[in-house]
C-alpha cells in the first residue's frame, strides 16, 4: 500500500476516470495533482467542491473532460482564469460542467460514503441550478415537506493529503477536516499523500482517523499540499495564490509555467 507518488498515480488513475482531489482550502493534494499533469492523464472527470488552483492547473493542462464542482474562484483573489478560459473559449478543450451548491456537493459525498443512491436537503428550490444538473424534488413520506434530492457521488478514485500515516497504513488528519473522510469512503479506490510516516498514530484533538482498510495506497510526500497548507507542518502560501492570478491570466504565461515546473510542454497540452 505504500507507493512512490508517480507509481501510485500511474497505477490508480486511468484516463477517463472520475477522480476527486479533495481538501477544503486546507490539505489540498497539489503534488498528486501535478503528478497527474506530468503523466499526461486525459479525459478525466474532475470532482471537487472548490476547483481552486489545483484544478485550474489540471484544466489548463488539458487533463479534464468534465468538472463537477460548486465554487470556482481563487479564494480572496478573484477568478480562476484557466477554468474561465475553458468554459468561455473552450481552451485548451471544451469543459462539460456539473454544477451544484456546496451543501449539495457535501451531501452527495455523504450519500456516496453511506452507500445510498441519493441525499436529501433543503435548497435548490427557486434557483436556476436544477435546470442544469440532476436535482429532483421529493416529498417527505412522513411530513409531506417538499425537499431536494441529489445523486450520490462515487468517484473511481479519491485523492487526499493528510498529516500522518502509521506503519499499518492508518491515516490521521487534523485542523479543518473538510469533506475528505466522506470523499475517501465514497470512492472505489483512494490515495492518501502524507507529510509524515509514524510508527503509531497518536490521536490529536479534532483528529480524523481513516482506518488502513479503507485506504488503497499511501505516498509519503512532505509539503504535498503546497501552496495550500498542512496544519502543524506547512503554512498557506498566500503570495502564490495572488501570483497565480498573473501566471494563469495569459495562456502563454501559463504554458511557460507548466514547462518551467517540468509538468508539460505546449505540444502535450494541445494534444
Amino acid at each position: 500500500m505504500f507507493l512512490p507518488l508517480d507509481q501510485a498515480i500511474g497505477d490508480l488513475l486511468n484516463d477517463g476516470d472520475s477522480v476527486a482531489f479533495e481538501g477544503f482550502t486546507h490539505l489540498i493534494p497539489f503534488a498528486a495533482g501535478q503528478e497527474t499533469i506530468r503523466q499526461g492523464k486525459r479525459n478525466l472527470e474532475l470532482i471537487r467542491m472548490t476547483p481552486d488552483l489545483i484544478y485550474d492547473q489540471l484544466i489548463g493542462a488539458g487533463c479534464a473532460r468534465r468538472l463537477v464542482f460548486s465554487y470556482g474562484g481563487n479564494p480572496g483573489v478573484g477568478s480562476l482564469h484557466r477554468f474561465r478560459d475553458a468554459i468561455e473559449h473552450d481552451w485548451p478543450a471544451p469543459l462539460e460542467l456539473e454544477e451544484h451548491s456546496h451543501a449539495g456537493m457535501v451531501n452527495r459525498y455523504v450519500a456516496g460514503a453511506a452507500g445510498l443512491p441519493f441525499a436529501v436537503l433543503r435548497g435548490y428550490a427557486g434557483t436556476d441550478l436544477p435546470q442544469h444538473v440532476e436535482v429532483a424534488e421529493i416529498e417527505c413520506p412522513f411530513t409531506g415537506e417538499r425537499l431536494s434530492a441529489v445523486p450520490a457521488i462515487r468517484p473511481d478514485l479519491t485523492v487526499i493529503h493528510a498529516q500522518q500515516a502509521d506503519r499499518r497504513g492508518n491515516v490521521q488528519l487534523w485542523g479543518i477536516p473538510g469533506v475528505q473522510k466522506e470523499a475517501v469512503l465514497a470512492a472505489d479506490r483512494s490515495l492518501v499523500t502524507v507529510e509524515e510516516l509514524v510508527d503509531e498514530i497518536e490521536l490529536k484533538p479534532g483528529g480524523v482517523v481513516i482506518p488502513h482498510w479503507a485506504v488503497t495506497a499511501i505516498s509519503h510526500v512532505p509539503g504535498g499540499a503546497q501552496p495550500s497548507y498542512t496544519d502543524g507542518y506547512t503554512t498557506r502560501n498566500n503570495d502564490f495564490y495572488r501570483e497565480w492570478d498573473e501566471i494563469s491570466r495569459d495562456r502563454d504565461r501559463f504554458l511557460r509555467w507548466l514547462a518551467a515546473e517540468g509538468l508539460a510542454d505546449k505540444a502535450e497540452v494541445a494534444r
Binding site: 464542482f69 451543501a103 455523504v110 427557486g126
Partner: protein, 241 residues
C-alpha cells in the same frame, strides 16, 4: 472626522448591520472586514462562523481564504463540511449571513454564476458555493455590492440564490445607499443614502423603478474609531469601481 472613501463607508455600514451576540456566516473580502470590524467595535460578542467549518473564531489578521490556518487556530470548534452545512446552517442556527453578487434584482435575488448565457457565458463567475443555502437558512442577510445599472438589473442572467423573503430580512449595502426588504411589499426599498448622495442618484443607478421608503435617512459617516480599526485590518477590500 477623518476623510474616507465610499468603499470604506460601505464596509462600515455593513458592519453596523451586525449586532452583539449574533452568529454570522462570513466570507472573505469585505464580509470579513465588516464582521471583524463589528466584533472589535460595537459587538464584541459577535460569533464569527466561516463555511470552512471554523465556529466562533477570532482572527488577528484578515484571512485571505475562508480556510486560513488562523481561523482554525482561534476557533472554539472546527467541524467538517457535512457538520457545518447540515447541523449548523440548514436548521437556522446561524443568525446572519453575508453575501456578495454580480447582479441583484428587485426582490433581492442574486446571481453569482454567469453573465450572459449559461452554456457559453460572456463572463463565467465562481458559482453558488454556500450562497443559496446561506440565503435560505439565515434569517438576516447582508448583501454588499457596487451600485450601478450593470449590477442592479431588471432580470438576472442566472438565479443562483433566492432571497428568503417571508419572515427574513435583507439589507443591501452599496457604495451609494442602503436598501432593505419591507413589510409593505416584496421588493427592496431605499432607506438610507450615503452622505452627499441624493435619492435621484440612487434611482439613476438602478435599472428598475426602485421603491423609496417614506423617510430616507443619511448613513452616518464613519467615526474615527471605526476608521482606525478598519484601517488597522490592512489589505482593504478593493475600490468598487
Amino acid at each position: 472626522m477623518s476623510a474616507f472613501d465610499p468603499a470604506e463607508l460601505m464596509t462600515v455600514a455593513a458592519a453596523r448591520e451586525l449586532r452583539d451576540g449574533q452568529s454570522v456566516l462570513v466570507g472573505v473580502g469585505r464580509p470579513s472586514h465588516a464582521a471583524i470590524l463589528a466584533k472589535r467595535t460595537h459587538s464584541p460578542g459577535l460569533i464569527l462562523v466561516y463555511e470552512s467549518g471554523t465556529i466562533d473564531t477570532d482572527p488577528e489578521n484578515i484571512p485571505l481564504s475562508i480556510g486560513d490556518p488562523e481561523l482554525a487556530a482561534t476557533s472554539v470548534s472546527t467541524v467538517s463540511l457535512p457538520d457545518i452545512f447540515n447541523y449548523w446552517l440548514q436548521p437556522g442556527r446561524i443568525d446572519a449571513g453575508f453575501l456578495g453578487a454580480a447582479q441583484i434584482d428587485r426582490h433581492g435575488n442574486l446571481n453569482t454564476t454567469v453573465i450572459g448565457g449559461y452554456d457559453h457565458p460572456k463572463v463565467r463567475l465562481p458559482g453558488a458555493g454556500g450562497a443559496p443555502e446561506i440565503a435560505r437558512s439565515c434569517s438576516e442577510i447582508v448583501v454588499t455590492l457596487p451600485h450601478s445599472k450593470r449590477t442592479f438589473v431588471e432580470g438576472l442572467d442566472f438565479t443562483t440564490s433566492l432571497c428568503r423573503g417571508e419572515g427574513g430580512s435583507m439589507a443591501v449595502v452599496t457604495d451609494l445607499a442602503v436598501l432593505r426588504t419591507s413589510d409593505r411589499h416584496d421588493e427592496l426599498e431605499l432607506t438610507e443614502t450615503f452622505p452627499g448622495v441624493s435619492v435621484e442618484d440612487v434611482l439613476e443607478a438602478t435599472s428598475w423603478e426602485l421603491k423609496v421608503a417614506p423617510e430616507v435617512s443619511t448613513v452616518a459617516e464613519p467615526s474615527d474609531r471605526e476608521l482606525e480599526v478598519l484601517r488597522s485590518l490592512g489589505s482593504k477590500p478593493k475600490a468598487v469601481r
